[in-house]
């Protein structure tokens, strides 16, 4: 194992901000918000509504319903694999950062995992906003060159005979992984199935 695996995590990121720095950042953001309101771009209520939508309405529970339905309904799974945007919209999920969806299916021979090496593109309508690690340098840099080591850090060991396919979301296509249905879940109802699907399994850093 080479030395870089022993390096501290994300060594260049300044981890803590003192209250003075936070205050400065807060003031800069307030200035932007006020400018947008003064210039008639948006109302304060509309800004509050966006926050509410992404903090409470949209999250990985959406994606888990998609996965559960795909497991329970073979026809739906085929629609999802053919035109994911349309199939996901059947469940009422669509819009910003999910305009062009592709769902990639895990099988015994292929394991899929999603990244955006250039920024942090992520399928918001099905998974909500991305977790911190997804946006940070260690994941974005390493998953394309050493996916097996990265997955091990998530506690995920992929057999060497299984191909790992990393999807780098460099364009406007957004990816979601359809995890393999675990054996213990074969007879569950769709509702029960949705409960066992995790966010990380739909990014592809975890298997179920």
């Amino acid at each position: 194992m080479s030395d870089h695996h022993d390096a501290p995590s994300n060594p260049y990121l300044k981890k803590r901000r003192d209250s003075g720095e936070t205050e400065k950042l807060t003031k800069r953001v307030q200035k932007i918000e006020q400018l947008l309101i003064d210039k008639g771009v948006v109302t304060k209520e509309a800004l509050d509504r966006i926050i509410e939508i992404y903090e409470t309405d949209i999250g990985p529970l959406n994606g888990s319903q998609v996965v559960a339905k795909a497991w329970a309904d073979e026809d739906y799974k085929q629609r999802l694999k053919t035109d994911a945007t349309k199939a996901i919209a059947e469940l009422g999920f669509s819009g910003l950062q999910g305009e062009h969806m592709v769902v990639v299916e895990n099988t015994p021979s292929v394991h899929n995992v999603v990244v955006c090496t250039l920024c942090s593109c992520y399928p918001w309508p099905v998974l909500g906003l991305p977790p911190k690690w997804y946006k940070e340098a260690p994941y974005r840099s390493r998953i394309v060159i050493e996916p097996r080591e990265v997955l091990k850090e998530f506690g995920t060991n992929i057999p060497s005979a299984t191909e790992i396919r990393v999807w780098d979301s460099s364009a406007e296509i957004r990816y979601m992984v359809l995890p393999q249905q675990p054996n213990y879940a074969k007879n569950m109802s769709e509702e029960e199935l949705a409960k066992i699907v995790t966010r990380d399994s739909m990014i592809g850093v975890e298997t179920l």
């Binding site: 950042l25 939508i53 903090e55 819009g95 780098d168 460099s170």
Partner: protein, 208 residues
């Protein structure tokens, strides 16, 4: 531009951190900035201009600052670039507008027939060493490498021109498969691969 944002394949960032942190926003200013940024794409966008503003950040600051500090830098830069403080007052977005924008999104695919005849699925292509001074979505680790076109995604607006107000210049977009062996030479004995979406202009057909 070949900037610090282009992290794919770097090995200097250590282990994945924050795997268990499940907060969308650490500080309240991040929440407010998230909302302001989404609402400002109409006035300060398009999204690729915003991405390019992040790419132009001071590299040391990029690596040492958090995800939302990148957003803050970009929004401030766009306000300055567009001399936005001098612009006319508009009709502000309301909570209802927001709900409709979130559910509809911004579509990047076009029905028009592209100037370039799409390349065939199965064709071997090489990513060009395309290094414009402006915005591009071709990551460094792909440049000069050979891959196989596995899907035609459709005709999509071209970020390299769109980011600079030079028009949509829509082109065929392909999903291209690059084997880990090709990308990282001998370090990887597996059948792992990266699949990435690339525009027509980023590619040349390999000689048979």
């Amino acid at each position: 531009m070949n900037g610090i944002h282009d992290l794919g394949g770097l090995q200097c960032f250590g282990k994945i951190d924050n795997k268990d942190v499940d907060v969308k926003f650490v500080d309240d200013w991040e929440r407010r900035l998230f909302a302001s940024t989404l609402c400002s794409f109409g006035a300060l966008g398009p999204i690729d201009a915003f991405r390019h503003a992040i790419e132009k950040m001071d590299p040391v600051h990029y690596l040492s600052s958090s995800y939302y500090e990148h957003w803050l830098e970009a929004v401030e830069a766009r306000i300055k670039e567009l001399n936005f403080t001098q612009s006319d007052i508009g009709v502000p977005l309301t909570p209802t507008d927001i709900e409709s924008i979130v559910a509809t999104g911004a579509h990047y695919a076009r029905e028009s027939v592209p100037e370039n005849e799409p390349l065939a699925v199965g064709l071997e292509v090489r990513a060009l060493p395309h290094s414009p001074e402006g915005h591009t979505r071709l990551p460094n680790y792909i440049k000069g490498k050979k891959g196989i076109i596995t899907e035609l995604r459709g005709t999509f607006v071209f970020p390299d021109t769109l980011a600079h107000g030079l028009g949509e210049c829509e082109q065929p977009l392909y999903s291209v498969r690059f084997s880990s062996r090709e990308l990282w030479a001998g370090r990887d004995p597996t059948n792992d691969a990266v699949h990435i979406d690339l525009w027509h202009s980023y590619l040349e057909v390999c000689d048979v």
